[in-house]
């Protein structure tokens, strides 16, 4: 079983580069001068990533020597997935603007639509390959049982994150003295 220190180091690595801002903001909130500080999506994401890493360490029972590499590859997988989601959403937004209101279509829009559709197809094809590659990278570090656990773990983590978001919302409502 892995020593907790190794997990701690990995989690700190996941938080590095922005999460500290959030921590500082929280620790200095006693003053309550100008309301809660703004957290960037990236900062919140890093906290969630750290939570994912901590749980992965517990559930996959990785050896200490493989864990740092696992963290790096897991992060790569998440980055590919998020980049795909963001780019896809951007393309969908473009398409929505182009075809959402047919009356506003002007000459040249059709070419742009074709362009975005092609970009969407390219993205899906490219991402499938990239995801496969990053999954392969994670799998290299795992034995068959751990690979199976990892698939189940990913599914479970998504549910847990949704639960956390829901809890945050409810706690905030309770703190404010009622449903919001």
């Amino acid at each position: 079983m892995m020593r907790r220190q190794a997990v701690v180091i990995a989690v700190v690595i996941m938080l590095a580069g922005g999460g500290m801002v959030a921590q500082e903001a929280l620790s200095t909130q006693g003053g309550r001068t100008a309301g809660p500080p703004v957290l960037t999506p990236g900062e919140i994401q890093r906290w969630l990533d750290a939570y994912t890493v901590l749980n992965a360490a517990e559930q996959l029972e990785l050896s200490e020597d493989r864990f740092p590499e696992f963290v790096a590859r897991l992060k790569a997988l998440q980055t590919v997935r998020r980049h795909h989601q963001q780019t896809r959403q951007q393309l969908l937004n473009d398409l929505r603007m182009l075809v959402g209101r047919p009356r506003t279509m002007v000459k040249g829009d059709e070419a742009q639509v074709q362009n975005r559709l092609q970009a969407l197809r390219d993205l899906e094809a490219r991402t499938a390959g990239e995801l496969q590659k990053t999954y392969d990278g994670v799998d290299e570090l795992l034995d068959p049982v751990q690979r199976a656990r990892f698939r189940l773990f990913e599914d479970e983590m998504e549910r847990r994150k949704l639960d956390l978001l829901s809890r945050a919302r409810r706690l905030n409502q309770a703190r404010r003295g009622g449903p919001g």
Partner: protein, 192 residues
Amino acid sequence: MKHLDAGQLVDLLDGGGTAAAERHLGTCARCREQLDALKRMDALVSSVEVPEPSPLFWTHLSARVREGAAAVPSARKGPWRWVVPLAVAATLLVVAGRGWVSRGGVESEGRVPSAIAESSGVERDVSGLFAEDGSWWILAEASADLDWDEAAEAGFAVAPGAADRAVLQLTREEQQELVRILRAELGDGVMP
């Protein structure tokens, strides 16, 4: 006769309007226009294929409608007293419809997460990328009471990244709450 109120318009939409309301409609272009708008909205909502949701969903929905109605100041009397509850109900129906459709594979306009360009070391601003869409909160709210095993058997799956979509819907206070929870989950020993 004064213009038709929201309740009378809804009655007409359902085919249950009074004779006086029908007569007024024949002479008032403004009320006809309002009724047409209601019909269009009704057609729009009806055109969305919505699978029968779980009983839990309707419990949440009715609670939300009650909350919305209760939030209207009691001094609000007169012909517009129906407008806010109706608007809340209509909005929830549309949002719910879109939420369920998105689960069926049709992309909603949801704010999708924070895809961060971590590989490049540059954090991209995604705050303006995703439009407001409460449908992800229906999913997140439902998750608190959901039996995931039953949901999975019914074909309900949470794809990787689903939670990321909801993160950007948090208010600043909710973000702070989330980070507090995460800190507690991670344990104080984890923090440097």
